[in-house]
Symmetry: C2
Subunit: 511 residues, 2 copies
Amino acid sequence: MLKYYIFALLLQTTYGWFFNYPNPGEFTYGEVWPLPLNVTTFNNFTHNINPTSFKFTTQLTNCDILQQAFQRYQKWTFPGNKTSLSAPVSTITLSQINVQVTKGCDQGYPQMGMDESYTIQLNPTSTSATLKANEIWGAIRGLESFSQLVFKDSNNNFYVKTTTISDSPRFPHRGIMLDSSRHYLSTGIIKQNLDIMAINKMNVFHWHLTDSDGGFSYVSSRFPDLSAKGAYTPKHVYTPVQIKDIIDYARLRGIRVIAEFDTPGHMTSWEPGRPGLLATCYDKQGRNDTILKYIIDPTVDANLQFIGQFFDEALNLFPDNYMHFGGDETSTYQQECWLDNPTIAAWMQQHGMGKNNTALLIYYLSNLVKQVQASSKNASMIFWQEVLDQGVARDSSHLFIMLYNPIWQSYYNCDPAGFTGTAAQKQLVLGGEACIWGEYVDGTNLIPRLWPNAGAASERLWSDVSQTQDANAAWPRFHEHRCRMLSRGYQVQVPNAPDFCPDYWDPPSFF
Amino acid sequence: MLKYYIFALLLQTTYGWFFNYPNPGEFTYGEVWPLPLNVTTFNNFTHNINPTSFKFTTQLTNCDILQQAFQRYQKWTFPGNKTSLSAPVSTITLSQINVQVTKGCDQGYPQMGMDESYTIQLNPTSTSATLKANEIWGAIRGLESFSQLVFKDSNNNFYVKTTTISDSPRFPHRGIMLDSSRHYLSTGIIKQNLDIMAINKMNVFHWHLTDSDGGFSYVSSRFPDLSAKGAYTPKHVYTPVQIKDIIDYARLRGIRVIAEFDTPGHMTSWEPGRPGLLATCYDKQGRNDTILKYIIDPTVDANLQFIGQFFDEALNLFPDNYMHFGGDETSTYQQECWLDNPTIAAWMQQHGMGKNNTALLIYYLSNLVKQVQASSKNASMIFWQEVLDQGVARDSSHLFIMLYNPIWQSYYNCDPAGFTGTAAQKQLVLGGEACIWGEYVDGTNLIPRLWPNAGAASERLWSDVSQTQDANAAWPRFHEHRCRMLSRGYQVQVPNAPDFCPDYWDPPSFF
């Protein structure tokens, strides 16, 4: 087998190294992405592995997370193939991996701080491997790593790289933000994205559910008019049942779902189902109704009550302890829709706020915080940076990193802790997110546009920074990883200049 | 029914008009893209049409093109639905369209100059429509237009806009260029692209088959080493059988396949299967082998003979009267690989060419032209502009237009005849192509990246320029057209800021 690959590599060196392109055939075999903390390989020794007889085993009973993961990894470990076609080449065949979880099965939902560490023991002389984790979440991560140690040759013989791994993530929060407001994303697309997140060991789905642009797709049971009047059509919505289904799908993959309902700005799509919720805005000539309503009118008590009831329902629907309350780009709207509105301006004068927009923002946020705390004792509140920039809500802040660049190397090179600051400040960084807004993105292009590039961020967020300094050095592993996702059936796009994967993408037939 | 749509439109006007976005729900119902030359509608009168009982009929017998088109349009006219769900709303139901072709069925392949004109007669009082064309190629275009007159409401009731059309294209050459060299494209992806081309009435598939970058995917029967040693893997190739299959698939859709084998430059991928074909190149310090071989060594007679035999096979395989012989970016390579190569330079001196690279280029091209003419009397030769810029092969030139811009409006606004020139010069413009190179494109992102935007070019190339001046005015039709392709199962991406289609994209399930 070694001979085979050396030959293949020699054949491929004639191309691609020009124009600073990487070699088109440059990919690893059986390497793990994102890079585990500690990896011991045994001189490139490999076991045979037989797709039809190999077993995932565990002593854990009645554990839906593990049983469903076994089913998934039976497919993902041996994509597109049921049998080995040729005689084994290695001297030893791996017959099973046994999964041991110290704390047993978690019947709840993954939360910030879950233990994702795991070890894989796969020794040169053993016919069985062991995966150990403290929590089920670590077991899921370890299964993914194990599946990535498996590779095949061009005759569809499967091998597993004889490797021992001890691994844990660098940051606890490793997220993808999807925007389903500007363009609707089907639940099928969202689930496919959750699959790919799991393959990249990402653990937070930040769901940007509402915005000014786009339809109001979230169905509130208490306020059904919001989607009945504010969604694009009755088909372009997420019902509570569908949302629970997505949350459960994410749970089985160790992924938290953090909902975002952006307030007090970016709320235009709320207005059709809740007339009077938003402040009338005025242009420079003092004319109203020529500027779209974006921001809530917090001087109306009914509006504050509505917000409390709205979030009470949402906090009960989404089991994660964190929720995102927006706060994006409020300052412009505050000027046009609060200060330039004579009724609101008069109210502010009466309440001793003068012309201080920030005072009215704090008034709104203080109410919000009180109501959220009344609804949920565990709720931690997340905001966009603009709220912090106005000097409010400092104590509930978390730091995230985002990038707009379509080149995977720029994600790879972006370090959330790479700023100038003290060790204590860097300790406050919880992780990062790759965010994709939906102005030009819907279900047709989300997956190919987001992946595999967001996977570059996953290595930055999971792996030891000192071992993952160089995107060029990482490329062959990243290339294998992209080809692996392709083989598993995910439409992840080509990340680099001329190259190829062993299995190319073919459109699923739809007739 | 009219009531229904007015209500829907009123509902939608609350969004999207801000930030200069078009209204998300702004699309037409039953309008044709690209715009036909003459359209008469009868005060928005519509017929009912029943998917289960409607018939495509013809007097033509044994016509594979028409029979297969009927099958296709039975699906495409009524996407995703088999039955009308509710009672008809219109007073009259269209029961059939009868297709009449004056010249009968063409058993050959579509060629430059084919007649694509057609008329559709669909009167307010008639229960059957008539499609007339001189040639089968016009009948295919007419079937596409007819299918686009059909639309459905949100209850899946189908209607057909009562419309009479008389139509013919502005330009005879309306093409898409795909690059399958840098990244391999499966035959499934290529066929899917041919489907979408037919929906946009585009009639030339320009197939950029070989390049310096990438693998040599074309399998030559006479020179099998070219792909055996030059392709990425044995799976990343197009065999003669596969190529014939694609040509026949295109024929059934009235699409010509014009192959491009780029010579004398951009030939690096030919070298592994044909050592010695290319000229050794030298850098500024006179060292060889530090610059990749790109261009043929035309001073070796065996190389000229090989080229003649290679194209003899290709000209027999591809039935179109036109073939593309490249000529892209030869000048740099000529300096490094011809003039700086001492053996070639000496040969040029001996043959009275001095240091005149263009003389050697003409020597190569004259041989090529002679050999092509010996192989095929009908062959017309296409080259990239660079060859013309060097003052050779003027008499075999055709003009094409390309664009690199990802915004559909820029394609829409680009007029191939919009240059400063005489009427006689403009008469020489045969049409245009939307070209997508493969540096960052493979099967995963080709369709969403190319479509629907390339469809904007299709209106520019088909329709009367005086009726199609304004992309904003065209948007509602373009939006319907994109949604139509989506409903038919094609993964064409979102072309504009926040909007929606009645049927959103869902990933085909792959497990």
